[in-house]
Amino acid sequence: MYQLNSINKIYAAILLLLILATSVKIWKYKTWKRYYYTASFSSPASYPVHVNNGQLILEDGDIAYVGYSTVNDGNNFGWGYGDSNDPTRKERLPVKLVVQYASFRDQSFYSDTIPLPVDAIKKAFSTVNAKGISTDLYQKPSVNRLDFVIGIANKGNIIVWLRGENFEETLLKHKIAPHEPSGDETYYETRLTKSQYLKRVFWIDSAKLEDFKAGLDKDASYIDTPSQFKIRLKQKQ
């Protein structure tokens, strides 16, 4: 056994502490349970919505934001197409979806926290290397990811898809009841009333307003409409 003098004992103690801290850090981070994925919203062009809050609550309690710029800007590329932001880092898988939005055609507000089917998500991610979408990372080798797309259909219906390169899985369908907005749900630069808020966040041109008045897509049920992604997938086969 080596005899250590007092300064070497201090060095050894620091080294032990560092080894312990590193193991704890690796154990808490759990790289082996992290994956690359993106999450974004989609809404039909005939039913504009404005998302106020969209988050995924992850397994470790962290939060990932769901991209809503496409939906809020009114750039609807087709039902079921979300934003295409590349992920920059691995994240734990989501367990809950938090969504809060206003619908223009209903003139009403929807808000809910929806539990996600964790087992189905885990199962899909176990094949991410074979079925995922290849993604280039900045100054790193490319990785495979999956995309969560949250469709906001009409009448307060929410549908969650999980997609890879050549597959689409419907994770859940959920209906939210409309409610009167309270607190920060009508916050846009400052606190507004319900009608002020709806006027402020929606920019609908007059031609579209006419279409809406005439009852465009009045009887549509987007929750049961296959996504454009699925339609293209079928055409390819």
Partner: protein, 103 residues
């Protein structure tokens, strides 16, 4: 009673162990910092911390092993001290720069 020569040999052995331990601590520190994902900003922060950590370790070494044989360690310590002061100063400067309001 140990002779003075034996004493010197023992101190030399201990000083070699110190160097090995310092190297191990530095490697472990690097591992601790990089074992999980860091953003670019966090990476810069951590790079800046390496020099001061080395200075503290080298300082402990220098003030423990005094004598002519350890002159080199003193030089290394003062260089690292200067470098770490520089790196801390540069970091503070950039933080201050980022905090400035640009009108």
């Amino acid at each position: 009673m140990e002779s003075p020569a034996q004493d010197t040999i023992e101190i030399e052995k201990q000083s070699h162990r110190s160097i090995i331990l310092i190297a191990a601590i530095l490697i472990m520190t690097a591992l601790y910092m990089t074992c999980t994902y860091n953003s670019e900003d966090e990476g810069i922060m951590l790079c800046t911390l390496v020099c001061p950590i080395f200075s503290i370790l080298a300082g402990m070494y220098t003030f423990t092993y005094t004598g002519k044989a350890y002159a080199a360690s003193r030089i290394i310590f003062y260089i690292s001290l200067a470098l770490s002061l520089c790196s801390i100063f540069v970091l503070c400067f950039f933080i201050e720069l980022a905090n400035t309001n640009w009108h």
